[in-house]
Amino acid sequence: MPVPILKQGNTLIVSVQAALTDRDLIDLKNDLAEKVGQFRSRGVIIDVSLLDVMDSFATRTLRGIAQTTKLRGAETVIVGIQPDVAFAMVQLGLALEGVATALDLDEGMELLAARLEKGDDRVG
């Protein structure tokens, strides 16, 4: 089942569902890389609050998405990692090193806005 990508201003917002398969995640990575270019997006927010499990594959792929979109000129923020999921990830030895995270969608938008502003200052 393809993951819908919503466009809001210069940001792409993705909300993944619980029954996310490996294939869905790989497709999402490709879709996002393309859409960031198509819409000239500066930020991507991936909401994983419905995800019941973040195993090593999901973590690796999300990290890959963040790195890929970064190379395409957009910042990615992962939002909504549930407490139990965070606990399991730590036990598993997983970290989302180098990937921005935020509590929820609102915080993610704020973080993204702050980062983009900072980036623009540097450019300007």
């Binding site: 090593s56 139990d84 999921v85 606990f87 399991a88 598993l92 997983l94």
Partner: protein, 136 residues
């Protein structure tokens, strides 16, 4: 240790079955008496071993049984495949070791998430992973 007759089984042949297996495992764990973060720990461990089947053996199955030992209750998860087998189990159980398809956290990670973990593998015959967790 009493293994209940009530069992659930998932045949693993593609990535969608990884999701089915962890959802069924979570349901079984809930029925057995697990709650809170233990449900997520169990589902995550199942996800890792189910993916190992898809990645390395292509085909296998996972069977869940409720366990009873005196007062304590638990969940038994047995994952079997008839894949190529693991040449060096000691190495495969080491954090960060991977033949290239993963972060190398699958097996050692699953062991950390569960209470008991056993693995048997024979080259050319397949691999069996047995995991148990007890309700706290």
């Amino acid at each position: 240790m009493i293994v209940s007759d009530e069992e659930a089984r998932v045949v693993i042949t593609h990535d969608g079955d990884v999701v089915t297996a962890r959802q069924l495992g979570r349901d079984m764990a809930k029925q057995t008496g697990f709650y809170g973060s233990d449900l997520t720990l169990i589902a995550t461990a199942i996800s890792e071993i189910a993916r190992n089947i898809v990645s390395y053996a292509q085909r296998g199955e996972i069977v869940f049984n409720a366990l009873e030992e005196g007062q304590r209750r638990g969940l038994l998860v047995v994952a079997r495949d008839e894949g190529p087998g693991i040449p060096n189990i000691e190495l495969a159980m080491r954090d960060g070791f991977s033949t290239g398809k993963s972060l190398g956290l699958g097996l050692p990670g699953a062991r950390r998430l569960m209470d008991e973990f056993e693995i048997e593998s024979e080259i050319g015959k397949g691999t069996t992973v047995i995991m148990r967790k007890w309700v706290r």
